[in-house]
Symmetry: C2
Subunit: 137 residues, 2 copies
DNA sequence: CGGGATCCTGCAAGATACTG
DNA sequence: CAGTATCTTGCAGGATCCCG
């Protein structure tokens, strides 16, 4: 359960340098994984290659704007590849690159933790809110 | 490299139900992990129990407001415990709970992926931006 | 079909000041 | 010391229209 020695070392080093939050590769990645749609798009693409409108249908409450933006950033980071078929009307497909495939492993770890821990978190919240309510009364 | 069968099943099921993004445990967790400070606070607390001002010094560019808020949510979710020593002036310490400890494992996985992949991502971005620039000219 | 361009809004989060 | 309260603002992200 303890962190690996390598990680604690990195952490200590980071802290010594004062957690330079600007130029931090971890922050860089976390920000992206944490944003509203990126992880979901990656997961959907992990099932199979999708066309733009397939993705849009598959993720109902994303706007075209946000879908485009998310796909662009993922493409820019090299996590997905984009292929345009010069038909008319045009058809564009998106697929995970090897790099994109590789993120599925840690991502799946987090998802499994989330599912495993969800019940406990909900209970903790109820307890906390109940105590909070009692205090307010 | 492929997703576990369990995950793909869950994904298929999620998609069939239309990705109910409101009541989604995964989304719930991802949103929190992804926000600006949560992961960092967890990591710092993984080193050792910290007092409020220690945390504040340890994470220079967080405001007291955001630190308090982040700690409250983590406490509410049962990931950290808060202990008040009735000295004066008061002293408050924060520590990871067992649940909080358990998230370190998937979190570390993501961090290691980030560090391992960072160079590749940077190269991909440079390539993308260069192509983008060329196209604009 | 697969976007881009624009406009608009809510809310996350910084700054500042106060308190038990 | 460890917070709260209030004010303010940047910008993520939705809605809408347009285009090749």
């Amino acid at each position: 359960m303890a962190l690996s020695a390598a990680l604690t070392d990195r952490l200590a080093e980071l802290q010594n340098r004062g957690f330079d939050t600007q130029d931090c590769p971890v922050r860089d990645v976390m920000d992206r994984v944490g944003d509203k749609w990126t992880a979901l798009v990656i997961l959907v693409l992990s099932i199979k290659t999708h066309r733009f409108s397939e993705l849009h249908r598959g993720i109902p409450d994303i706007s075209k704007r946000m879908l485009t933006q998310t796909l662009r950033e993922l493409e820019r980071d090299g996590l997905i590849t984009r292929h345009v078929y010069p038909t008319k009307p045009p058809s564009v497909s998106y697929a995970l690159s090897p790099l994109g495939q590789s993120v599925l492993v840690p991502l799946e770890g987090l998802i499994e933790w989330a599912q495993k821990s969800h019940a406990g978190i909900r209970r903790a919240r109820e307890r906390y809110d109940a105590a909070d309510l009692a205090k307010a009364a």
